[in-house]
Symmetry: C2
């Protein structure tokens, strides 16, 4: 469902964030992406998620060669196929937790009331049933992170990309998030999780280790 | 150096984030503040750091009763006594990593060039000597977090309050941050660290456990 071929990403003509990455993610897989801070993990996720274009090399998602699509076609592809949990959350500051999550289901064609019902259910699964009406600045760091998780899963995307989804959570709240991901995975969702938590990395079937803009190791199912 | 007496904090007349907290922090201590997401830790840190006023109860910092100071006097007190690492970093988006950190030493009366030298040294100690000229949006999540740490320590404040300073870091980068904190502590700095990392909590001499807006336990030196 995802194929990266010799992908390079250079920022400002100087910083080589990715230096020739080859990666294949099969449908239904769950993998962790680990590596030192600054090694290129979030950049890699942005390439997989088509949020940014590589400097060179090819990205293919759901059979489409991303480099051949217009921005509009890319936007439609993302809406259909991808869910994101961003490292910095990127919640809409003016909307409640409920509406932030309901917006996650915007492309499914469902009416607002139904999207809000799904949003409430998703928020309850990450322990935020008592915070539906709070806006992001009225939430703790870990609560904002969980809203970001709920928003990504509510649309039930075929491919879910999560960048450090538990970094601000205690073990109990983190376990709730992982349970949501585990259930999604069992129902067929393909999931890639960037994490600094070695327990999570040990829990996923596959581990992709990034170092200095390259994939240093790829351990577990669907590899080599 | 810090005394909280029966501190309560209610948001919007409804959310009781702190429900009667009593806490004493002696000069030169290092403690971890732990507890579930949403339990009141960041709110507690904001009370200790005088960034917000309690709904009721008293806060005393460096011998001053905070409730009796004007906003201007409070601002001066903070500038002299406190350093912060925020959970959401709060870096200046238009300034480089170097200048973000140099601003941390603004109240010491040092000229810009000297502040920049100190800033460069602080950034090198957290492994960012190669990112001095990058602006926040040109840094990874963990790099931004480390810039926030460097900015808090560069002024050598008597009291350092760090909210989840390693949540976005791998173990190597996290260890660099902890080493910076350890060295500061050895030189006499009083340090309070909010963390979800149980290894860090085990490493500090004292652990304050927060639960539902109350201090549920206080283990280690300088207690009971
Ligand atoms: N401005 C606000 N208005 C209403 N409720 C708020 C506001 N700020 C925080 N809260 C609530 O107060 C509670 C405590 O928040 P706080 O940020 O102190 O938690 P925390 O322990 O730091 O959590 P985390 O580990 O997730 O960072 C949370 O349940 C949060 O929803
Ligand atoms: N817009 C940019 N301009 C210049 N350099 C950038 C830019 N964005 C990222 N970088 C650099 O590219 C490198 C990789 O960044 P990336 O965000 O992918 O790291 P990461 O592995 O996700 O790190 P972390 O674990 O800290 O989140 C970093 O060293 C960063 O400084
Ligand atoms: Mg990252
Ligand atoms: Mg917090």
């Amino acid at each position: 469902v995802v194929r990266l071929t010799d992908v390079r990403k250079v920022y400002g003509g100087q910083v080589e964030a990715l230096r020739g990455v080859n990666l294949v993610i099969e449908e239904g897989e769950m993998l962790a992406i680990v590596g030192p801070s600054g090694s290129g993990k979030s950049t890699l996720l942005h390439m997989i998620g088509t949020l940014d274009r590589p400097t060179s090399g090819e990205v293919s998602v759901a059979g489409h060669r991303v480099g051949e699509l217009s921005d509009r076609e890319l936007s439609a592809l993302r809406a259909r196929h991808l869910g994101f949990v961003f490292q910095q959350f990127h919640l809409a500051p003016g909307a409640t937790a409920l509406d932030n999550v309901a917006d996650g289901a915007l492309y499914g064609g469902l009416p607002l009331r139904e999207r809000r019902e799904r949003a409430a259910a998703a928020l309850e699964r990450v322990g935020l049933g008592h915070r539906l009406g709070h806006r992001p600045h009225q939430l703790s760091g870990g609560e904002q992170q969980r809203v970001a998780v709920a928003r990504a899963v509510v649309a039930d995307p075929p491919l879910l990309l999560a960048d450090e989804p538990t970094g601000n959570l205690d073990s109990a709240a983190g376990a709730e998030v992982l349970e949501v991901l585990r259930v999604l995975h069992t129902s067929g969702t393909t999931i890639a999780i960037i994490t600094h938590d070695m327990e999570i990395a040990a829990w996923t079937p596959r581990r992709v280790r990034v170092r200095d803009g390259l994939i240093a190791a790829d351990e577990g199912p669907s590899t080599g």
